[in-house]
Subunit: 138 residues, 2 copies
């Protein structure tokens, strides 16, 4: 228990909507866009099996994995395993998803850049079939 506590940097936060996430994903907002910072900053916790829907960012997003293990997949490509200490620089307008692995939780800080008033476009869920294929190919 001490070891677990030691690794938690930010609070788990509020559960994210099942409209855009599958499973138990949580957000702690860390900073809202302001005059200097043209991005939203937040810590997202994915319990095992949890993941985003497929989505795009009009001006990209940077992920810093601060705990656990998970996946990042761009449409039409093999999923990439991501783990604590990894940084992912997601290009603009590229369909992708990210989330925990089936067996491990994953926590990342996200820096989500704005283009105009928009920083994300949500698409369809990652199906059980798509998710199982990624996890079973490990």
């Amino acid at each position: 228990m001490i070891e677990d506590n030691h690794s938690f940097i930010f609070p788990k936060g509020e559960k994210l909507s099942s409209n855009w996430f599958t499973g138990d994903a949580f957000l702690t907002p860390l900073l809202a866009r302001d005059r200097n910072n043209d991005f939203a900053l937040g810590s997202v916790t994915f319990e095992p099996g949890a993941r985003t829907n497929w989505h795009t960012h009009p001006r990209g997003q940077v992920l810093m994995v601060i705990e656990g293990k998970g996946w990042y997949q761009e449409k039409g490509k093999a999923a990439q395993a991501i783990k604590k200490g990894d940084v992912v620089n997601i290009p603009e307008n590229l369909e992708h998803w990210h989330g925990a692995s089936a067996s491990d939780k994953m926590v990342h800080v996200a820096i989500t850049n704005y283009k105009g008033e928009e920083n994300v476009v949500w698409l369809q869920p990652v199906t059980e079939g798509e998710y199982e294929k990624v996890n079973n190919n490990q």
Copy 2:
């Protein structure tokens, strides 16, 4: 030792210059400015007693403390104690310093926004007297 390892997210990196830092401070660059990200991203480790010089950022900086305890001080104000989990949104053109406490290390991720080609203006060191005053007032 296991507990300590568990808390390290990013490598410690390379020692930072004594021109701009007092004591043992280290940087791991995480991401350089690019077409979407108008900032530099890096993890900075301050050993106990280490700190930045006084400095300003022309378009501000965001700090996320991911380990340990330290100080953030704006010129003419009392120093603020900062610790793991704290986020500091530093305004533009405001003289300040940050670093570890005298007895604890401190690690933060820094998001440093650019204005034109510049993201920091370095000033004079935080003197031993200034630093001792902050630590002894605790």
